[in-house]
């Protein structure tokens, strides 16, 4: 991690040709020095631009907004108003906003990013520099009807000037919002649930973008209420505040405060924890996030907040009516809007109630923790019955809820796979569960099948649908076809997982040693038994030999022989 920013710097050098570092001091000179790439005509340098910097590389940590932000932005972009995007935004979002608004401007600190965007979108006005310099540069230009700063304010600073406090930046940002206009601001929560589980917090690693370290700014909002207060101080009033999950880097769900006040169904909240990326974690995010919702701390511990705020209109002007969704949730490629009574798929889907019940995987994990094999048998048999009656073949224990009578899929059904026997479909579901169960280090009652394959076949047996190795191979193929790997296994293990795994290994070793010594004892016993039996055999043989040598035995044989010969002769004559 520490070496990557350096390589980024090198890459930048090659992409901007031969930059002469001494040639321009951006704060004083509005035009880049000789040797720097020629800026497109729509890029205006406003001071504080960073010539050798890019926020566009994936590792920069720019918030990877997708469907939810696109949907929300689509709803708030005024068709005839002016829009400003502050800070780096994903390309799709910029394209969407640029396509909808009458006039769009963008503020970026990175010169190469600004040039690239300017070339891609010649119709945009691109300001390149730091946020605080924009107002001055605009020469009292009109404020904007919509300001989007979804990545937050940290990437509106420039290394060319001391970093402004969060409140100051917010003030500068708020000044750009027209009366009656809207501001969409993303704010990362320093106490977000995703922070709890990081073994090495990224903002303490001293990467190249940490010239002003994060975490020491007293004006940075310490909670949802502080955020609201900050916005009010800046002259804005909050219209709706969303908690974004599962993490600050790639938010996939927006839940408003109003939505979080409900007892959200598990089918909804289970999907809101994720383990993405290669980072070392302290704990499995799933368990922690489940607790966050159970404790109704979704707002306080959200990895990121997204606020929609407005500057009160002057005089008697009415606020532009904007219908803000209660919540937006992405699941794969599907986007859902949360409503008061259910959810509807966007665009234009019908409203449906969210299925009630507990996530099947959690029921099973609980049963395993209790060593309650009876529940496991019953639930798996019910699941098998459901599949045989035409249940969704793409389902998995982590995407199904069960209310005691019915199974229901949490998300939309995936692309239908090639028709498979229900047995194989069940086998795939159980294999996936087995992999996840073992990878997560949950306690379970099965002593022998310590590897996922054996456990899967045992589980199939418990469901009353025995499978063999061939079925399992097919099931694995089906899983690959469905393209949702049983994830957990591929990621860097969490610290707690490692500790758990170490303890498990110690236990297994103890058990293995006990088994070995038991088998050794048994072996010695059997060997003794064998020796004894052999000796007995030898004794018997010797006795038999001695007996054969006795006079009586030999006499009786002699006497018997003529009789035998006679019998044979008679048989020959008669036959």
């Amino acid at each position: 991690m520490a070496t990557e920013p350096a390589s980024r710097g090198e890459a930048m050098n090659t992409s901007t040709n031969e930059t002469n570092p001494g040639a321009s001091t951006p704060e004083t000179s509005p035009s880049p020095g000789p040797g720097t790439r020629e800026a497109p005509g729509n890029v205006r340098l406003i001071g504080g631009e960073m010539l050798l910097w890019s926020d566009a590389t994936a590792l920069g940590g720019v918030t990877d907004w997708r469907g939810t932000a696109l949907e929300l932005a689509g709803r708030v972009v005024p068709a005839d108003g002016r829009v400003l995007l502050v800070g780096p935004h994903p390309q799709a979002l910029v394209d969407e906003v640029a396509g909808r608004a009458r006039a769009t401007s963008v503020l970026l600190r990175s010169y190469p990013d600004a040039c690239a965007l300017g070339e891609r979108h010649p119709e945009l006005t691109i300001f390149c520099g730091r946020l605080e310099a924009l107002e001055a540069a605009e020469d009292g230009g009109e404020p904007y009807d919509l300001v989007l700063a979804l990545d937050g304010l940290s990437r509106t600073h420039s290394a060319e000037a001391p970093a402004a406090a969060w409140a100051e930046s917010l003030e500068a940002l708020a000044a750009l919002v027209a009366p009656g206009g809207l501001l969409l601001l993303g704010v990362r929560n320093d106490l977000g649930v995703d922070r709890f589980i990081e073994a090495r917090p990224a903002d303490r690693e001293g990467a190249d973008d940490q010239w002003a370290p994060h975490g020491f700014d007293p004006s940075y909002p310490g909670g949802p209420e502080a955020l609201d207060a900050g916005l009010e101080t800046a002259g804005l009033s909050v219209q709706r505040r969303y908690a974004a999950f599962p993490d600050r880097q790639a938010p996939r769900a927006l839940l408003s405060r109003e939505a979080l006040a409900f007892d959200l169904p598990e089918a909804l909240t289970f999907a809101l924890s994720a383990r993405e990326g290669e980072r070392m974690l302290v704990a499995d995010p799933l368990r922690l996030t489940r607790l966050v919702f159970r404790h109704r701390l979704g707002e306080q511990l959200a990895p990121l907040w997204l606020v929609v705020a407005t500057r009160p209109p002057l005089g008697g002007d009415a606020v532009r009516p904007v219908e803000l969704p209660l919540g937006l949730i992405e699941e794969g490629h599907a986007l859902y809007e949360l409503t008061a009574t259910g959810a509807r798929r966007l665009p234009g889907g019908e409203e449906r109630p969210i299925p009630a019940g507990r996530v099947v995987e959690e029921i099973l994990v609980e049963a395993c923790a209790r060593e309650d094999v009876k529940t496991v048998r019953e639930l798996l048999a019910a699941l098998a019955g459901w599949l045989e009656a035409g249940g969704d073949a793409t389902a998995a224990t982590d995407s199904l809820v069960y209310d005691g009578r019915r199974f229901a899929a949490v998300g939309p059904p995936g692309p239908a796979p090639v028709r498979q026997e229900p047995r194989v479909v069940l086998c795939r579901i159980l294999w996936r569960f087995a992999v996840r169960l073992l990878a997560a280090g949950h306690h379970h009652p099965w002593p022998w099948p310590l590897e996922a394959d054996q456990l899967t076949l045992t589980l199939c047996g418990m469901a009353g649908r025995p499978c063999d190795q061939g079925d399992l191979d097919q099931a694995r193929k089906l899983d690959a076809e469905l393209g949702r790997p049983a994830e957990l296994a591929e990621h860097a293990p969490a610290y707690r997982d490692l500790l758990g795994a170490r303890d498990r290994l110690a236990d297994q070793l103890t058990a293995a040693l006990a088994r070995i010594s038991r088998l050794e004892t048994k072996l010695s016993y059997r060997e003794r038994e064998l020796v004894r039996a052999k000796a007995k055999l030898r004794r018997t043989q010797r006795k038999a030999t001695a007996y054969r040598r006795t006079l009586g035995y030999r006499l009786s044989r002699r006497l018997a022989r003529p009789r035998k010969v006679a019998r044979r002769v008679i048989r020959l004559l008669s036959g």
Binding site: V373, K374, A511
Partner: protein
């Protein structure tokens, strides 16, 4: 060779007592005559500790303990035991296999199981006095079922026979290699199904077996004592505290059946495939997808021959 199996090499010998392993083998569709080794420890009798005797050091960790009911698992866990796996009593598998064996409409009389010692511990008690008590309580014909050790003792037998009781024995509990105990539970099932009532001086497997096939239950008479009864069980007083409703000359039959269902773990009946995998009976076929059937079919033959050979030599 006796039954010195606790300290000797045959540590999992108890898996094969009373024909348990044979019943489970049949349930699992195993073709062999000689039962396979079970990789783990079967609880072989009703028990109110953790499914095994207090000195269960022969149950090596790392091997599963196949037990009858969840309370044993919880108690065992609290006492440092791990690796419990609930499958219920072998009895429930026998009932599954033999729903009709010995079923009669005209059930009569009482089958009485005096508490028995075993090969290493005898019980002390006065059988004659017990027999008198039985005669006073029971109204119908009485069958007294003795453990083979007591059955072999003419004095004990006489004390029951002299009061006009029929005295029987289900046989020895047997071993893996001998056919002696193989039909123990079947015989017991047939006997229980011909009697209307089952009684004993102590709560025990037989009583619950009886309750599970519709017998009325009674527990009365001198509970007798093991010569060195382990204090871990808590003695007769604890049984009285735990199951006061099951003690007495007449017991609510519905309640007794309910307790029997729980104690014998009817809810925990495992599927044959699950048992095959848990017992380690599946292993050798693993990794040989198709031709394994032929190889697997041969193996039992060879085994049988070896077993016969063993027996021949041991008895010869």
């Amino acid at each position: 060779m006796g039954h010195g199996n606790r300290t000797g090499g045959m540590m999992d010998e108890s898996n094969h007592w009373y024909g348990h392993s044979r019943i489970l083998g049949r349930y699992c569709g195993m073709p062999e005559e000689t039962p396979r080794r079970i990789q783990g420890f079967l609880q072989h009798g009703w028990n109110y500790l953790h499914g095994f005797p207090p000195n269960d050091h022969w149950c090596s960790p790392g091997y599963p303990r196949f037990i009858w009911s969840d309370v044993l698992r919880r108690r065992g866990w609290s006492m440092g035991r791990r690796g419990h796996y609930l499958i219920g009593a072998p009895w429930i598998y026998l009932l599954h296999l033999e729903p009709d064996l010995g079923v009669r409409r005209d059930r009569k009389g009482t089958i009485w199981y005096p508490f028995h010692g075993w090969e290493k511990h005898s019980v002390s008690g006065d059988h004659a006095r017990l027999a008198d008590e039985i005669r006073d309580v029971e109204t119908g014909p009485v069958t007294v079922c003795l453990y083979w050790l007591e059955y072999a003792n003419p004095d004990i037998r006489r004390s029951y026979e002299s009061r006009g009781f029929r005295v029987i024995c289900h046989g020895e509990r047997g071993s893996r290699w001998e056919s002696k105990g193989r039909d123990f539970l079947r015989k017991q099932l047939v006997e229980l199904r011909r009697h209307r009532r089952v009684a004993s001086n102590r709560l025990g497997s037989a009583l619950f077996y009886g309750a599970s096939v519709g017998c009325e239950v009674a527990v009365y008479g001198d509970p007798m004592q093991f010569e060195d009864e382990r204090p871990e069980y808590g003695g007769t007083a604890r049984r009285m505290r735990l199951w006061p409703e099951l003690h007495g000359t007449s017991v609510d039959p519905g309640l007794a059946a309910e307790v029997a269902r729980r104690e014998l773990g009817f809810e925990y009946q495992a599927t044959p495939e699950e048992l095959r995998r848990m017992f380690g009976w599946k292993r050798m076929r693993e990794g040989v997808p198709s031709p394994g059937g032929a190889a697997g079919a041969k193996r039992p033959e060879r085994r049988k021959a070896a077993a016969h050979g063993d027996r021949a030599r041991l008895t010869g």
